[in-house]
């Protein structure tokens, strides 16, 4: 029996009550869609359509450029309005394909028909995943066909399906597991074909009993698949945390999960893989939660990528009367990104929109004091780092101590230290900066070395 949790971690207020009971609802986009060419880790896709080209749902409009890259798929039918720089969720301008939505959603092929896959080979499974443009839907956006092709597939002992959903507020994975248990298990079985020595472990936090029941029922009778309930704790759904819990191994930054015989894959990604393999349907929509105390009717939706956040917010009833939104987050409060405007497109990685009437950061900044050296940050760090010492080292610009003695580059930026700090110090933010500075110093050194 594996342990149910890792060392450290925090338990922020879950706030899942807003949307946890609301079943997934398909939302069909009314307006145009904007599809950034970069929706994954690695290189952006290359556009293969131009202005005024007609497109169908499921059509590849951006092609993967190189190995670590992923296809971009049209999510509506209509015609290409523009290929140009548009504002994206973090406020930056990025190359996007804009499609004028004809409202018909004409698909490239009928995606509701099961194909005969009894013959399917491992190569074909990977090819379908690659063609479908699937990336890690948990938020990291690592191309899935790359993740599922490690050097030694026989060495993989665990395929961990991440259904922890430890992020506060978000409930779309919960609802997906409740509704699509069989499909997820089928997807997992297909993925397990790639790893003959691996066991499939569906890891779910205990605050989702319905999802656990649904997955246990779906997995029943499968000797190679089990459901592992986990303690409700953030960052339980972090890759390193899950490997720690399931395989009992802490991994350093330089190691990939596959190096210790693990593949960690988000539950939404497994569902997308099942759609891609069995129905040959590419990834053009995903589940997401629209929630927060400023939302009138919070809920869980299946939305087409490229739809504007503002449009999905309207689908959830818009902003609650008498409430003013102070903060909009793509994702939940821990890992989410704060957005200056909601008129930006949803991409493959966005698992939620959280709209808050009170900005906890604003409140916290007002209560900031000097560091007490209380050590609460060291207690919660899931990696075993000393955030307080790291912050001191960075402030003293002792980057050598930061990197070598304190292992500061190992920080996974989960934000637990910032969350717990009673003095409200921006610890994790400091570490982001420190890592960037160390990388810059190294790059400068490498450049100088190259010039010699």
């Amino acid at each position: 029996m594996a342990k149910e949790t890792f060392r450290g971690g925090i338990h922020p207020n879950e706030h899942k009550e807003y949307s946890r009971g609301v079943a997934l609802k398909v939302y069909e986009t009314k307006g145009d869609v904007i599809l950034p060419l970069s929706q994954n880790i690695g290189r952006p896709a290359k556009p293969v359509v131009k202005r005024n080209d007609p497109v169908l749902v499921g059509q590849v409009i951006g092609e993967a450029d190189g190995f670590v890259s992923a296809n971009i798929i049209a999510s509506v039918s209509g015609k290409v309005k523009a290929v140009e720089k548009r504002r994206t969720l973090n406020g930056s301008l990025q190359e996007c394909i804009v499609i004028e939505n004809d409202g018909a959603f004409t698909p490239l092929k009928d995606y509701s028909v099961r194909e005969d896959i009894s013959w399917i080979t491992n190569e074909e499974i990977l090819a379908r995943i690659k063609n479908a443009g699937i990336v890690g839907l948990g938020g990291a956006g690592f191309p899935t066909h790359v993740k599922l092709a490690p050097k030694d597939p026989l060495a993989v002992k665990y395929v961990i399906v991440n259904g922890a959903e430890c992020e506060p507020y978000l409930t779309c994975d919960d609802q997906l597991m409740r509704a699509m248990g069989d499909e997820i298990v089928e997807g997992l079985k297909l993925i397990l074909k790639l790893f003959p020595n691996a066991e499939g472990v569906i890891a779910i936090e205990k605050n989702k009993p319905e999802a656990i029941a649904s997955m246990e029922r779906a997995a029943e009778g499968n000797t190679k698949i089990r459901v592992q309930p986990l303690k409700t704790k953030y960052p339980q759904g972090g890759e390193k945390s899950l490997i720690r819990v399931i395989a009992g191994i802490d991994t350093p930054r330089a190691m990939l999960p596959a190096d210790v015989g693990c593949i960690v894959i988000n539950v939404g990604t497994v569902y997308a893989c099942q759609r891609a393999i069995v129905y040959n349907e590419p990834l053009y929509r995903r589940a997401m939660t629209v929630t927060g105390d400023a939302v009138k009717e919070p809920g869980n939706f299946i939305v087409r990528t490229g739809t504007l956040f503002s449009e999905v917010l309207e689908a959830a009833g818009g902003v609650k009367e008498g409430v003013e939104a102070r903060k909009a987050l793509a994702g939940g409060p821990m890992m989410g990104i704060s957005m200056p405007s909601l008129d930006v497109p949803i991409i493959k990685l966005n698992n939620g929109l959280t709209l808050l009437s009170v900005d906890p950061v604003e409140k916290a900044d007002a209560a900031m004091t000097a560091c007490l050296h209380c050590g609460r940050c060291t207690t919660v760090c899931p990696i075993g780092l000393m955030p307080q010492m790291m912050a001191d080292a960075f402030i003293a610009q002792d980057l050598d101590r930061y990197e070598k003695k304190l292992y500061g580059l190992e920080c996974v930026e989960c934000g637990s230290c910032t969350y717990i700090c009673p003095a409200k110090r921006p610890l994790m933010q400091t570490f982001k900066q420190a890592k960037a500075e160390i990388a810059a110093v190294k790059a400068a050194k490498a450049a100088a070395g190259g010039a010699k």
Partner: protein, 526 residues
Amino acid sequence: MSQMLNLSTGPHARDKWTTAYIMRVVVIALLPTAIIGFIVNGWYSVLMTAIAIITAVLTELVFDKICKKPDTWKDWSAVVTGLLLALSLPATVPWYIPFLGSLFAILVVKCFFGGLGKNFINPALAGRCFLLISFVSTVTTFKVDGVSTATPLVDLAAGKTVNVTQMFLGTAGGVLGSSIIALMAGGLILWAMDIIHGEICFSVIVGFLLIIGLFGGQGFDPKFLMAHISGGGVVMGAFFMATDYTTSPVSRLGQLVYGCFIGVLGGLFRTFGSSADSFSYAIIIGNLFTPLIDTFIVPTPYAYRKKMIALQRGEKKKKLKDQIPIPVVVIAIVTLIAGIALSGVFTMTKDAIEEQQLAKKAASYKEVMPEAETFEVNAAGKEAIDALNGEVYGSSFGRSRINSAITGLDSAGNAVGYVIEVTSNDAYDGTLTISVGIASDGTIKGIAFTELHETPGKGSLCDEPAFKDQYKDRNVTAFKVLKDGGSTLPEEIDSVSGATVSSRAVTNAVNAGLDFYRTKIQGGGN
């Protein structure tokens, strides 16, 4: 959306605990101790505590205003400092004592070093030590119901038994915050809330007990250990002072090292040192080592520990017995054996030690009873001493206690006189102990000091023949001290010039010994 949306780097959630919240919890944890102190010591102690707290907060506020700093006084940390300082002072000190203590603690130790989180020693302790040095007699004079008393710790140092129950409740005298049971309750609540760390508070206590047990002279006798734990601010120090965030290491391992260090140092100071307030200094010295500990003791991240690297390489998990670090086991076993052996040796050699001590003391007995050849414990006297149970003897001899009663025998085995050993707590600097030689008819044959720490050139002159021979060969009911000299009657003793307190303490002790002989040995023996 009429309003601008806020932008920030994640995470966008924060725990509800703030600095001020933690400080308020610490204040609440100290309240039971304070309330018991108030009940025992009365309204003045409330006023004194208020002065300490208000001074602390105002000092920080004024400093903030003058230096145009943000309002750090609102974070409640100054309240904690003021309260801790008040609780570590006697309840009867004049108003300016808590005022000066808080001023020093906040202004010099905290503000001058950069405020919250920057001070290098605990401000409350620093304030207390500042007062100890500046106003030694005021800060170490304790009164219960208006009467000066020795703290239990002074008695303990003098080898007396003390009332541990009273110390636990906080009614035994001492500082305002001396209720051990309330301090422990508050400390354990903070520990349960993970505000203070067991790595510090428990290791301080364990380290302290280990040293007291090994070198305290009475082995690991639970009652003796409890008495030591209950006195001298050990509990307050362990739970509320040593655990101060800013001045203790951050890593758990560092905290363990730091806690053991303070505990051992405190134990050594208590056993071999002379100051009753040594525990405060032990913590301050521990504070000074904190930056060093934090520099060198940095835990390795989980993924880089040896055991984990082996697992990453695919090696099998080791069995439990291979996982326990051998040095830890060895140290634990050695400590255990040493402790058992020492306490065993102590028990076995207890009688031998007593005999030896008797022989050693025989020299001083000989001095005051030259006619005697050998000495033996007087049975009637011993019975009477046991009946006193360490209490002060009689009502007219100040705080004199009878330690032992010895019969002097000549070569034929006949009693030729008696030696009574008396300790007085009224000496100018704590205690003094004398042996009083008394002939069977009640004539004083001489006195000798077995313990005297009085001021050189003043109180120490009591040990000169000019003073102590005044008692010799006189047979009176009770001696009395003439402050200005000019004695004529046999019962009159000329005080040592400038050392009336010492002279009176000696005379009271002689009178106590004389009275004890007359009522308990002569009267009881006949």
